[in-house]
Every structure is written in C-alpha cells, then in structure tokens.
C-alpha cells in the first residue's frame, strides 16, 4: 500500500502505476514456472506437454518445471484429487510464493470426472480446496488443450491483478466451453444430479435385495 500512496502523490501518479502494473503483469505472464505435480492419468499428458519435444511448452515461457513449491508459481493440478490428498495439495499451494496461479486440468479436477458417482473418496472438483484460475476440460486434455489453458491464463494475468488491489482476480474460466454453456450451468446440473444420487430409500432397497429387516419387530 505504501508504494501506491507515494506513487499516487508523485508526478503522473495514476498513469505511472498503470504502466508499472502492465510491465509487472507482462513479466509474470511470460515467466511462469510450473510445479511438477501430478497424481494420475492427466499427469502423463501434462508431461507430454511440458517435457516432450513435440509440444514443447518452452514456446510459451513456462518450461522451467520445479520440483519444489517454493520455487514455482504455477500449480498445474493434473489428475484426480482424493480426500486424503486434499490437505497435502492445499499445503503445496500455500507453500508457493505469491503471486501464484492454478491451472486445473482434466474432468476430475472440474467435477470428479469419471469418479463423480459412487466413489467414496474423490473430491468433486478441486475448487473445494483451493482457488483455481483456469480449468482445462478433457479426460485427459490433449497437450494443445493445456496450451490453450496456459494462454488463457497468460491473458488473464496480463489484464488482471493490479498493484492497487493485489490478489484480486477474475472468476475462474473454462478454457474451452461449448457456446451457450457457462460454468454455472455445469455446476448446477452436477449439483442436482448428485442430490438425486444421494437420496437412498433404504427400506425399498432392502426389500429389493431380500435382506432381513434390521429392526426386530
């Protein structure tokens, strides 16, 4: 805040700050250092995208993958997150230096993906544990899909956070959605499905399976 005040009083205050913001954001957007983190299938496609020579993420300035969260500022969540992993993921996120960005790839991180029904462990979407900037749909998303997500994030960074309001970002976006469908549509449909799923008529199920009654009448 001190920077802001003194800069505001300086000659050309507002204008100067805006320029500084722009420069900072441009630098941030083009030097993202991803954390090597992957839990399952999506991680292979992420490795194909970030490490492999054909796709070569270095073109977008994000090839310096770091194994330590302290040196990384982009968390690519590749793969299913289960309840046991969720606190660790949150810890990883908190260990990263600000400003930090999160790309969540794969259906699993959006809604639980193939594990949305009947799984007693998976998280239905990683938004429950940490704020996500860009979702990349797919199961697994192609490397091109991840790149589109990365470019989306870079655009967001360039137009996003400012010195005046550090930490303020836009709502998470889906990097490729069919026209006419929003993230809220998906979420509300998912909720209604899960709600319908969660209502179990124990008595009817018991009769169907022919199990003895649990109450001694």
């Amino acid at each position: 805040m001190g920077v802001e005040k003194s800069a505001d009083q300086a000659l050309g205050g507002n204008y100067l700050l805006t320029r500084v913001d722009q420069v900072l954001n441009m630098a941030r957007a083009n030097s993202l250092w991803p954390l090597t983190f992957g839990t399952s299938c999506c991680a292979i496609e992420m490795m194909m995208a970030t490490g492999a020579p054909r796709h070569d993420i270095a073109r977008f300035g994000a090839e310096v993958a770091r194994p330590s969260p302290r040196q990384a500022d982009l968390l690519i969540i590749a793969g299913t997150i289960v309840k046991r992993m969720a606190p660790r993921l949150r810890t990883l996120y908190e260990q990263m230096a600000e400003p930090r960005y999160v790309i969540a790839t794969g259906a699993c991180t959006i809604s639980g993906g193939p594990f949305i029904y009947n799984s007693y462990t998976t998280l239905r979407g990683v938004e429950d544990v940490l704020p996500v900037d860009v979702f990349v749909p797919g199961c697994p998303p192609r490397p091109e899909g991840l790149f589109y997500g990365l470019l989306t994030l870079q655009r967001m960074i360039k137009s996003g956070e400012t010195l005046r309001q550090p930490g303020v970002r836009r709502k998470p976006v889906m990097s490729a959605l069919p026209p006419g469908i929003s993230m809220d549509d998906i979420r509300s449909e998912m909720e209604s499905l899960l709600e319908a799923d969660s209502e179990v008529d124990v008595e009817a199920r018991r009769r169907q399976l022919g199990w003895p009654s649990s109450t001694n009448t």
């Binding site: 839990t39 399952s40 992993m85």
Partner: protein, 387 residues
C-alpha cells in the same frame, strides 16, 4: 522366505541390533507424497541410519479412488472405461482383462481378427510404456536427454492409437465381445513405419544410455532382489524376470494370439537394477518382433460380436482371469450373482501393488541415493497401486 507379520507399531520402533560400530541413532524421513521421483503420489517412510536404509515403509491411499467399489454399480461394458484409469500406461491390457473375463464367463468365442487386433495393440502399448519408463529412468538418474528421446518416440506410437482409437491415453477400446471399431485404413502402413522408426531408435537408446558409465555405476549391483524373495513377494513382470525367473504369462498361459508368434522371454541373472533395465529394453525389441509377425496377416472378420445394446448377464460364480501388462500380472476376480447385469464384486490384483513391496527387500541395507534408482527400475504407476 517366510514373512513375519508386523504392525506399523513394530516397524517404527528402533531396531535393537544397530549393526553400525558407531553410536548412531535411527531416524525417519518421508519421501513423498509430492516427490518428483515417486512418479505420482506415493509416500515412502524411510527408516535410516545415517545414509543406510534400514527399512522402507510404503504408505498408500493418496490416490485411492475406489474403482473396485464403483465397478459394483456399473455394467460390465461401463466398467471397462474405469480400467483405463488404473494403470493408464497399459490401458488396453486392462480393458482386455475385463473383456476376456466376461467372454470366458459367458462362453463367447471371439474370432481371429479381434484377437489379432487386441494383441497388436497390447504390444504397441507395451513398447510405448517402456519408452516412457526409459526416458523417466534416465531423468531420475540425472540425465535429461533420455526423457526427451523417449517422449519423442512415444509420440509416434500415440499417433497410431489416436488414429484408430481416437484417444492418446485412456483408450476404452477393447470391449466384451470385440473391439470398439475397426482399424483405420492407414493402420498397417503407419504401424510399419513406426516400428521401423522405433527399431532404429532402440539402437540409439543403447548407445546413449545403456553403455553410459554413470548409468552402469548406479544400476549394477544396486537393489538386488533374489529370485526367492521375488517369488515370495508376488513380484511379477520385468522385475521378476530380471531376478531370473522366466515367468511370462504370454508364454505360460498364452492368450490372444501369443501362441502363434515367435518371441523370447528376456531373463536377467542377478536381479539388480541393471537387469531390470536390460529386461525392459529387450522386451521392447521382442514386442516389435511380435507386431512385425502379426501386422501383415490380420485376417478379415467382424470386430464386434456382442450387440452393444445387449444386456450381459454372467452365470452365478466366481471367475478369475489374468494377463501380462507392461508391469506384470493383472488379474481380475469377478463375482456374479447370476441375476443382474452388474458384477456383485470386482477385485483387481494389480501388478504394481505387489511389485511395490519388493522395494523394501531390495533397498534394505543400501544407500539412500540408490533408492531413486530402485523405485525407477520398478516402474511404478501409483493409481494402479491404490486403485
């Protein structure tokens, strides 16, 4: 070897006979769940004395998704897609295990075309899986170039999958009663080209990494797993063969068209990391050889024998069926109650789960630095351990 039953409580107690002459103290460190060398979210608790490993205690559950339980609420056809996500580098063999289990249980005979297609794809997938392992092993041991090479060559095989199957990783292609759809017209041409390419590249791999002094030093006589230990622990796949046991399901209980092709089983002698390395590299060569024999004479025929809309009901009973994935034996126990089109219970005997426990046997008494080589030479896929 008899394994005493030990609780976690026993395991974390300091051992009473420290065999170091110095007055040292045992301590624990955690490796994982987020660690670049564990290839996923595997957590290893290490009991160390200085730099010597006293014990490796794997802690599981960080990617347990409940796939077996989910299978009980799905029809057999639907369950196939979940098996892609267990061991995603052998997705086709996983599909095949379910498909074959259902076919055997219902008494469905498949035709030659289906079996040829399945075998060819399974072998191509084995090659790509080993290529990925080769690259990652290089990276784990500190050489980045193999990673680039392995991934570059893997792409040519992924293209083959993509053309016919439409997917790069999660295939869902082999279904009960056949395969999803017929081969792409380009398939034979492209596969031949890719095989020729891979063959020349295998040569390059040997020159780049196999003879490398650092690799030799870090793998030879490191992490020795004796044949008895391997058998007692239920280790399968390349680690078992590297220990000198020539047990390959493709030879012992042939399925698909493996009984009609000529190939040899690569067997190691010492059971160290180098043998495991060598067995896998040799397996790539043998797989190329298998596909070369099959690719030219794929017979004509239908590719799907069960109507997709048909309800598959399996007669009451317990069925077991196993196959050789790139990592070992994947078995599936199927329990059916005979009335519904869903399984009553599904259990998977996954290769990585059993191979993981060999880690303790091979690392004990070794150095901390060698642990990475040991983990890497087992080629673990963590979601397959936890399921």
């Amino acid at each position: 070897m008899t394994a005493p039953i030990r609780t976690l409580d026993d395991r974390i107690r300091p051992s009473d006979t420290p065999d170091s002459p110095l007055d040292t103290q045992e301590y624990f460190i955690n490796m994982g769940p987020q660690h670049p060398a564990t290839h996923g979210v595997l957590r290893l608790m290490l009991k160390l004395d200085g730099e010597t490993i006293r014990e490796v205690i794997p802690v599981l559950g960080y990617i347990h998704r409940g796939i077996e339980k989910m299978g009980e609420a799905m029809t057999y056809r639907q369950f196939v897609h979940l098996t892609d996500r267990i061991d995603y580098l052998s997705a086709l063999v996983n599909n095949w295990v379910v498909a074959r289990g259902v076919e055997v249980a219902t008494g469905t005979e498949t035709n030659d075309r289906i079996e040829y297609i399945r075998t060819i794809f399974a072998e191509i997938e084995r090659i790509q899986s080993h290529m990925l392992w080769w690259g990652v092993l290089g990276m784990d041991l500190g050489a980045f170039t193999p990673f680039l090479y392995g991934f570059r060559d893997r792409e040519t095989l992924t293209d083959i999958f993509e053309e016919t199957i439409g997917c790069r990783l999660t295939m869902n292609y082999i279904q009960p009663g056949g395969v999803m759809h017929d081969l792409h017209p380009n398939f034979v041409k492209r596969t031949k080209a890719a095989l020729a390419y891979s063959k020349s590249k295998l040569h390059e791999y040997e020159e780049l990494l196999s003879g490398n002094v650092i690799l030799q030093e870090r793998t030879r006589d490191v992490g020795i797993l004796s044949a008895e230990d391997a058998v007692a622990l239920g280790v399968t796949g390349p680690p078992l063969r590297a220990s000198g046991v020539a047990y390959d399901l493709r030879k012992v209980e042939p399925y698909g068209v493996y009984d009609r092709v000529d190939f040899r089983t690569a067997v190691g002698s010492v059971g160290d990391c180098w043998d495991r390395y060598w067995v896998r590299v040799e397996e790539m060569r043998q797989s190329i050889h298998i596909v070369e024999q099959l690719i030219d004479n794929i017979p004509e025929g239908k590719t799907m024998l069960m109507k997709p809309a048909k309800k598959i009901v399996i007669p009451e009973g317990v069925y077991y069926n196993q196959m050789e994935t790139a990592r070992g034996i994947l078995g599936m126990v199927l329990v059916s109650d005979g009335t519904s089109d869903k399984p009553y219970r599904i259990h998977l005997r996954s290769p990585n789960f059993n191979n993981l426990w060999a880690l303790d046997a091979m690392s004990r008494g070794g150095r901390l630095g060698d642990l990475v080589a040991n983990v890497s030479s087992l080629d673990l896929v963590v979601p397959d351990i936890d399921r």
